[in-house]
């Protein structure tokens, strides 16, 4: 490809020949081939080669869960943001992280860019699931079960991710009669250049339910709370149907979990074990947190603990709902350093200084409460609802009297129990809005203490980065 021609008349041709030989030699010694230029990276591999063996799929599956554990998702902000928008939390004096949302002053460019970061992170998990679902690789029958299990989990994670997006960025299912209001874009294909529009909330829920049902046929039935199993998928289904107000299906899905007998409520005396041990007996799906995840600064617990950022405190509104001997009082500790309006408790549910608490996604007590709430809406099923509610309430306080309330009072009791049982696990805001209730903070240190239902502000803005790039996406009203 490269020839040297030297056109010189020279007497000592011998010398010249020698010299040219040296030049040519050194050229070819340096290897003139394209191999020299074809350097592959050492920390990553070409996408075409990434999903070829069962080992590749196992790694991709793990990578998908790693996305769930990111600090912009279950690792911290996704769970935190909805909670600090609710009435369970008050801001500490120095609260800065995510504080625009706590104070209902959020925007598409909020102070930690969370509107963008949470959105981006959840969609990257969807991309990871789509890579597995859409792979055309076929594997030998000997590993087919494991392969099915991975594909099933990919469907389940894709559903969970869509569900989390539609909860945070769109109004709840019954906001309009036919759920025709703006949801979020459904992504079930891989195209780096797509600019999808927002689907309606109904379309999103249909997609979620369809994915969860596909998952049911593929995933393992065995118990492993670090990954989504059949019980995890049923658990998610019970919540999705509950949000959709499809009471019968919510009960059915919850039955599948409870009747499997794979899980049991953690006894009163070990209550905190739900949050600081792996695989507690009632945990159906949790996000594992480990030393190598280097959680120190990023952990959800650090947002509450004095040793962390300590930006947010439990409001008396939620603390006062707990009777004196309720075991759940032990999840809050007194901090003498808190003065005035900020006194005096801190959330200690996630008690590891190093941020090693797993983040619960679904646990048995929620499934009981999902079933109780659904049953309370089904004529003739009130007694079943009361029984489930008693189970949760009396586990925490064995001396608590049986529930006798009925009708809307029963529903209120269930919601109250849900509030104290699942506090700081990212449920409260959605439980309020889907029941068409506003946020009313009595013990309030924020500049905003009352937001009545309905409000444009109960959902996040779509991040500016998406708006800038994607003309098909409509911003939420009010932003």
């Amino acid at each position: 490809m490269f020839k040297i021609t030297v056109m010189i008349k020279y007497k000592n041709l011998d010398n010249l020949r020698k010299s040219i030989a040296v030049v040519m030699l050194s050229i070819f010694a340096s290897s003139c081939s394209n191999d020299f230029l074809d350097l592959q990276p050492h920390q990553s591999i070409d996408t075409d080669m990434a999903l070829q063996s069962i080992g590749d799929f196992q790694a991709a599956n793990v990578g998908m869960y790693d996305g769930l554990s990111s600090s912009n998702y279950y690792g911290r902000y996704f769970v935190l943001v909805s909670d600090i928008m609710s009435d369970d939390v008050k801001q500490n004096a120095s609260a800065n992280r995510a504080s625009d949302w706590a104070a209902y002053a959020g925007s598409s460019t909020d102070n930690n860019n969370l509107a963008n970061n949470i959105w981006s992170r959840i969609y990257s998990v969807i991309d990871r699931s789509n890579r597995i679902i859409l792979s055309e690789t076929t594997l030998p029958p000997s590993v087919q079960d494991e392969f099915d299990n991975i594909k099933g989990q990919a469907y389940a994670v894709r559903a969970l991710a869509h569900f989390d997006l539609v909860r945070l960025y769109a109004q709840h299912y019954t906001y309009t009669n036919d759920a025709s209001h703006m949801g979020i874009p459904i992504v079930t294909s891989i195209d780096p250049f797509t600019k999808p529009a927002r689907n309606s909330v109904k379309e999103v829920y249909d997609q979620i339910i369809s994915d969860l049902q596909t998952a049911l046929e593929l995933v393992d039935k065995k118990k492993n709370s670090f990954f989504l199993t059949q019980s995890g998928v049923y658990g998610l289904l019970s919540r999705v149907y509950l949000y959709k107000e499809d009471w019968v299906n919510a009960v059915d899905a919850a039955d599948q979990v409870i009747d499997s007998n794979l899980f049991s409520l953690v006894p009163n005396e070990n209550y905190q074990a739900i949050f600081n041990t792996d695989h507690s007996s009632e945990t159906i799906f949790e996000i594992d947190m480990h030393e190598t995840d280097n959680r120190g600064t990023d952990a959800l617990g650090g947002m509450y603990l004095a040793t962390g950022y300590g930006d947010y405190l439990p409001s008396k509104d939620v603390l006062n709902l707990l009777p004196p001997n309720d075991v759940r009082n032990s999840l809050y500790i007194t901090d003498a350093g808190l003065a005035g309006d900020y006194a005096s408790k801190r959330v200690n549910k996630y008690d590891s200084k190093l941020g090693l608490n797993n983040i619960p996604v679904i646990r048995l007590s929620e499934v009981y409460l999902n079933r109780a709430e659904a049953n309370a809406h089904i004529p003739g099923a009130e007694m079943a609802a009361q029984q489930d509610l008693n189970k949760i309430r009396q586990r925490a306080l064995p001396s608590a009297p049986d529930v006798t309330a009925t009708g809307s009072q029963l529903i209120d009791e269930i919601l109250k129990e849900r509030r104290v049982e699942l506090a700081f696990e990212g449920h409260r805001l959605y439980d309020l809005t889907r029941n068409k209730k506003g946020v009313h903070r009595t013990d309030c240190t924020s500049s905003v203490c009352d937001v009545s239902y309905p409000s444009d502000r109960f959902v996040l803005a779509i991040g500016q980065a998406e708006i800038d790039v994607n003309p098909n996406v409509t911003q939420n009203p009010g932003y």
Binding site: V6, Q40, S44, A93, H290, G340
Partner: protein
């Protein structure tokens, strides 16, 4: 020709009869301590009789009385001595500085200045000698037309951005290629941790001793840079190190000591405790709380309030010490240059310093008449201590303003205070951070460059050059467990090592001949291969039981252990053809074909070329009458170069690893990839005029250029629903047009008194010429027809005198004001981070042995964004952080008050501190006295008496004075890159005394 010779012989014969002949002996030596000159030529004028001196400079020649002896030596001023009755004639030749200036090092060779067809500027080594800055790039600012430098701060050893003729790229590197002794080298920051910064605080070029530099050539246009092909588009900086010269050994010793303080006098000041207390109460009262409530909280936070000036507490006068010694000389076969130096600089901030030990040996051996072997080896070792800068809790220039004066430095036990850990920036203690914790980086670099040059014939040369650039970095960070970033995990440490190895082999064949006395041709053919490999190893651990035992082995939990490897390669062939006719018409053709591993498999090879021509009008007959005009030269060039400065694997669609979960290894898509990815192309045109008149007393260069950059690499944003944020693509064109002018005037030029004045100015106009859709970023919006750094912000409309609320204009018309930030549109505010023009001004006055010189640099109509203002001047948004004196003094307090800044409300949600508003945009037009030096040179006669060759003492000031147009500017106008200044250590001014002695 033949006739001439016959005539000469005849004259000689005749004269030998007429005049008595005698034998004259003597010695030829050189001034300035160079000593005897071997192989100097001694000719009898107008004859062909001549001899050369021996190794000791002695000669003997037979001449007649009345003959004139001509003593000449390369690089020396030729001297003539008439033969009278002497039998011994000793001469001392002086160095010919003008002739040295004439030889210009260019890519893969050197040429006479006269024959340049491209735009090349040369700086001699004295510009770099005993500079008070850590690396050579700092000495370029203001000295080269079209070159602009910006620095991100005053950390000694930190990185600088050099842009030649504007910004040539959106996303790829816009820095020039650096070449040392013919070999492209690794530049910039190669660190993993960079003291917790993103690469602005370290620079591998700081391992090079600037005192070793003989000259620097700055290649600006395609005619000069096309020989570097895909790496030539941003210009090339060629550094040539010193070499020895045959003759007596010459030793130079220089030393200096300097004292530094912040260069800019109007930097922000923190507020004292009294003001902070006022603000604290006011902030709660404005939020609807009572004074008692606020006072209780204050007492709770600050039980024993101190009055600390954190800025004073972390600033110091830094001391810089420097020692340099070199020796050079050689015999007729071997010449050498050897140097050793020690450089030690304290930053103006506690805990920031830089130390360099370096040595060099440049050897040249004439093995035979035909074969010359050269080996240049340099070793540099730097040790630096630094700070995490910017808007991080541990950043000293951030904490100094935000940690309130009420917080004491020490607690009662004499430990660093951390009682504010629960409510104030993780208990940040700026003093403790940089005295108790550790942040260090050691860089070791060896560059060896060995070459053999074989003269195949008189006109044909073959050269093979091999170089190895070995770089090793070891860095360590420790954060204590009591306060600051390490508090949550009981202390932590982060350690990394990086090894970077690059080799290059270059083979060139060079043919050079003058035909028929008029046609000079020079042909270069070359082949080059390069491969570079980087390996890094990094580990982190948390939980330190004993804060004094800091190695990772002492920690409770290892949290990270990782290693990585990355490579790239280049294969290149190149050629240059230079031709000149009668030293009047010059033409140069260059060509390079480059292949690189960085580019997509479908687009791996590219061709680059240039043509250049020049015409020396003063060589024309019709000009010879214009005796006042010494030189008039026109030149023009056009060519295509490339920019290959992108990541090593950007073209590949990738799955990455390290996405672990539940202690199992995981993978995830990491890069979208683009197999069409290729280098950016640049088409550039250059037209220039060089002038010299009035006996070369006035010289000037004027250049007009157009740089058109095409296929610019751009991170095209993607919809986040794809799971990715951006994809690198070759889209977009940009153009820089500009004009450069430099003038040098020798106002007075006599034996005892000299006065010289020089100036350069550059106008560069940047414009995005193609971009299919605009891209909005933090502060800017890239759009076709706009310049690259056009600020795109909401427009601050001041403070409402009635309510104390911040106001914005709703749109471009500025007709309606609103206190709701969300109603304010972002618009082009008509200001840019790119200046209208910039340049330098220098002058020197010498009277006898005294010399006074000064150099100014200026930048006109450039704007800067004060990034940390959103926290430092936050109007209370970040409870309960303190603020700057300027913000405190200018805040709104009472209705009806016209104030610059809004009222202070803790937890303020008015968004008045919003990150992209013109409130924090400042005019940064400035003129700076970069250098002023007063020196005294010892008389030669005095020097001889004390047995030395030369001695010079000097007093020097760097960055002593700064003038800014905007008196509200509280940022160093020269700091900041990309139109933004972060909370970095400020730049320093330095006063230095120094001494140079030659033996």
């Amino acid at each position: 020709m033949k006739r001439k010779i016959i005539f000469c012989i005849l004259t000689m014969l005749v004269s030998s009869f007429v005049f008595p002949q005698r034998i004259i002996k003597g010695n030829v030596s050189a001034a300035d301590g160079i000593g005897p000159l071997p192989a100097a030529t001694i000719m009898i004028k107008n004859s062909s009789t001549g001899v050369t001196s021996d190794f000791d400079g002695n000669y003997s020649i037979t001449a007649n009385v009345g003959d004139i002896l001509v003593f000449s030596y390369i690089g020396m001023v030729t001297q003539e001595v008439a033969v009278k009755n002497q039998t011994e004639i000793n001469v001392v030749l002086k160095e010919d500085l003008s002739e040295l200036d004439e030889i210009v090092v260019i890519g893969y060779g050197s040429v006479s200045k006269e024959s340049l067809t491209g735009s090349v500027e040369v700086l001699s080594g004295d510009k770099f000698e005993m500079a008070t800055s850590t690396s050579l790039e700092n000495s370029l600012q203001g000295n080269v037309a079209g070159l602009q430098m910006s620095s991100s701060g005053g950390q000694p050893g930190s990185n600088v951005d050099i842009r030649i003729r504007g910004i040539g790229s959106f996303n790829a590197d816009s820095s020039p290629l650096y070449v040392i002794d013919g070999i492209p080298v690794i530049t910039g920051s190669q660190s993993e941790t960079d003291f917790g910064n993103d690469g602005h605080a370290s620079n591998v070029m700081s391992t090079i001793n600037p005192n070793d530099i003989e000259s620097v050539s700055v290649l600006k246009d395609a005619s000069a840079t096309a020989i570097y092909g895909s790496r030539g588009a941003n210009g090339v900086i060629i550094i040539t190190t010193k070499s020895g010269r045959s003759g007596k050994m010459k030793i130079n010793f220089s030393t200096q000591v300097g004292f530094s303080s912040p260069a800019y006098n109007n930097l922000n000041e923190p507020i004292n405790e009294k003001d902070y207390h006022t603000l604290f109460i006011e902030g709660y009262v404005n939020d609807g709380k009572t004074v008692e409530y606020a006072q209780n909280l204050y007492d709770n936070y600050y039980p024993d309030p101190a009055d600390t000036n954190w800025l004073d507490a972390i600033m110091r006068n830094g001391v810089t010490k420097q020692y340099n010694i070199d020796a050079s000389g050689g015999g007729d076969k071997i010449t050498y240059f050897a140097s050793a130096s020690y450089f030690d600089q304290e930053g103006i901030m506690l805990g920031s310093d830089f130390e360099r030990l370096s040595s060099r040996l440049n050897l040249t051996a004439k093995v035979t008449d035909k074969l010359t072997i050269t080996n240049n080896i340099s070793v540099g070792r730097t040790t630096a201590h630094g700070a995490t800068e910017g808007t991080s809790f541990d950043s000293p220039m951030y904490g100094a303003y935000l940690v309130p004066a009420a917080v004491p430095i020490y607690n009662e036990e004499g430990q660093f205070y951390n009682g504010h850990v629960g409510f104030m920036m993780g208990g940040a203690n700026p003093v403790g951070k940089y005295t108790e914790d550790e942040r260090w980086m050691k860089q070791t670099r060896i560059i060896d460059n060995i070459s053999a040059d074989y003269k195949i014939t008189q006109n044909l040369n073959f050269k093979t050059a091999w170089s190895f650039d070995l770089l090793n970095i070891h860095e360590f960070e420790f954060d204590n467990g009591r306060y600051g970033d390490g508090r949550r995990v009981g202390g932590r440490a982060d350690e990394a090592t990086i090894e970077n190895i690059s080799w290059i082999g270059t083979q060139t064949l060079n043919y050079n001949k003058l035909f028929q006395d008029r046609h000079q041709i020079d042909v270069l053919l070359g082949y080059e291969a390069q491969k570079s490999e980087r390996r890094s190893l990094r580990a982190r651990a948390e939980g330190y039981p004993n804060p004094n035992l800091r190695t990772l082995a002492n920690a409770a939990n290892p949290t990270l252990a990782t290693s990585a490897k990355s490579e790239y390669s280049f294969l290149s062939m190149f050629s240059r053809l230079s031709y000149n006719f009668d030293r009047k018409y010059y033409a140069t053709l260059s060509y390079r074909r480059d292949g690189s591993s960085r580019f997509g498999s479908d687009n791996r090879w590219g061709n680059f070329w240039s043509v250049g021509a020049s015409w020396v009008l003063t060589q024309e007959k019709f000009m010879t009458d214009l005796t006042w005009l010494n030189n008039l030269k026109l030149r023009a060039s056009y060519g295509v170069t490339g920019n290959a400065g992108i990541g090593n694997y950007d073209s590949l669609s990738l799955y990455g690893f390290g996405n672990d979960y539940a202690t199992m290894p995981g993978s995830a898509p990491s890069n979208v990839g683009n197999s069409l990815l290729t280098w950016e192309n640049q088409h550039s045109m250059d037209i220039g005029l060089s002038l010299a008149f009035l006996n070369n007393r006035i010289t000037s260069n004027m250049t007009y250029f157009i740089r058109k950059n095409e296929d610019l690499l751009l991170e095209r944003p993607l919809s986040r629903t794809t799971g990715f944020s951006a994809n690198l693509q070759n889209v977009g064109d940009m153009q820089n047009t500009g004009f450069e002018l430099d003038v040098n005037i020798g106002i007075i030029d006599s034996e005892d008194f000299n006065w010289q004045l020089g100036a350069n100015v550059s106008f560069v106009n940047n414009k995005i010429t193609k971009l299919d859709e605009p891209i909005t970023e933090n502060l800017f919006r890239k759009e076709e027809g706009r310049n690259f750094y056009d600020y795109y912000l909401t427009q601050w409309a001041g403070v409402d005198p009635q309510t104390g609320q911040g106001l914005w204009y709703t749109d471009e018309t500025k007709s309606v004001k609103t206190s709701d930030y969300n109603e304010a549109e972002r618009v082009y505010v008509g200001k840019s981070a790119l200046p209208d023009f910039f340049g330098g001004l220098n002058t020197s006055v010498r009277y006898k042995n005294f010399e006074l010189s000064g150099q100014f640099s200026f930048v006109w109509n450039k704007y800067l964004y004060d990034y940390p203002a959103f926290v430092m001047d936050s109007d209370g948004r970040y409870t309960p952080r303190s603020t700057t004196q300027w913000n405190f003094d200018n805040r709104w307090t009472t209705p009806g008050q016209e104030a610059l800044n809004p009222k202070w409300v803790w937890g303020n949600t008015s968004l008045s501190n919003s990150k992209n508003s013109t409130r924090a945009l400042y005019d940064a037009t400035y003129v700076r006295l970069r250098d002023v030096t007063f020196s005294y040179d010892l008389n030669n006669s005095v020097a001889e008496k004390i047995n030395i060759v030369s001695m010079k003492i000097y007093l020097k000031g760097s960055n002593l004075l700064t003038w800014v147009r905007n008196k509200d500017l509280r940022l160093d106008p020269e700091s900041g890159t990309n139109g933004m200044v972060d909370a970095f250590i400020p730049m320093a001014k330095t006063v230095t005394v120094g001494l140079n002695i030659g033996f």
